[in-house]
Symmetry: C2
Subunit: 133 residues, 2 copies
């Protein structure tokens, strides 16, 4: 696989870990060092301990949200790669996500996630261009 | 200056360009290649043309918002650096911002910006820890 395919696979693995609430897999997806995360509506969490703890709590939810990534754009620069996508949560709510990966030991690992709600007007504007379907 | 100071200066320059509505300066702050941006409530813009055009429109606003960055955290890895901060817009609204820079030709240039509203409950929770003051 090339970098772009690898990054899309890493991105899909992130959402799969979410969907299946696999905390150990989520820990494996995140890099060991230099990580940060902005969950929707939250200020930034900086450092692996804070980030991993947030996922431990989120994945412990007995009724997890179904999150589906759409419309992925991949940008690669050396050992840095990011996937920008739209998360459809529970089939309706649209979030814009930045998923940033770093190649560490030959494997793309997440170093930053930032997700934020897309305003309804923007969703309607983007939908006809096929962003959400 | 060390990398951390340089990145804080680059971050400050971004908000200064906003505050003074200097479009040419904003163009200089952004890298030439591999850029993307998620404005609050928007889906991702990918590519310099789309990103720069969005700032042209935003900075053309005759009544620009006063945006003040607070509580900056800097993470550096080689030629990649990011500043995570809280933007206080017009003195009240709090946004979480990811400002990602890449060292190009010895200068840190912005390659990604993602800003999103912080829920009021989170602002109240973070305020006593000194994040907003």
């Amino acid at each position: 696989m090339n970098d772009e395919e690898d990054l899309l696979a890493a991105n899909a693995a992130y959402y799969e870990a979410f969907r299946t609430a696999k905390f150990a897999e989520m820990c494996r997806i995140w890099a060991e060092d230099g990580v940060s995360c902005v969950h929707p509506g939250w200020p930034a969490l900086v450092g692996r301990d804070a980030v991993i703890e947030s996922y431990r709590k989120i994945l412990a939810n007995p009724n997890p949200e179904w999150i589906d990534p759409h419309d992925a754009h991949v940008l690669v620069s050396g050992d840095e790669g990011r996937v920008l996508c739209i998360e459809i949560v529970a089939g309706t709510l649209a979030l814009a996500a930045t998923n940033w990966f770093r190649r560490v030991g030959g494997r793309w690992r997440m170093v930053h996630h930032h997700a934020s709600p897309i305003a309804a007007a923007m969703v309607e504007e983007t939908a006809p261009r096929g962003r959400l379907n």
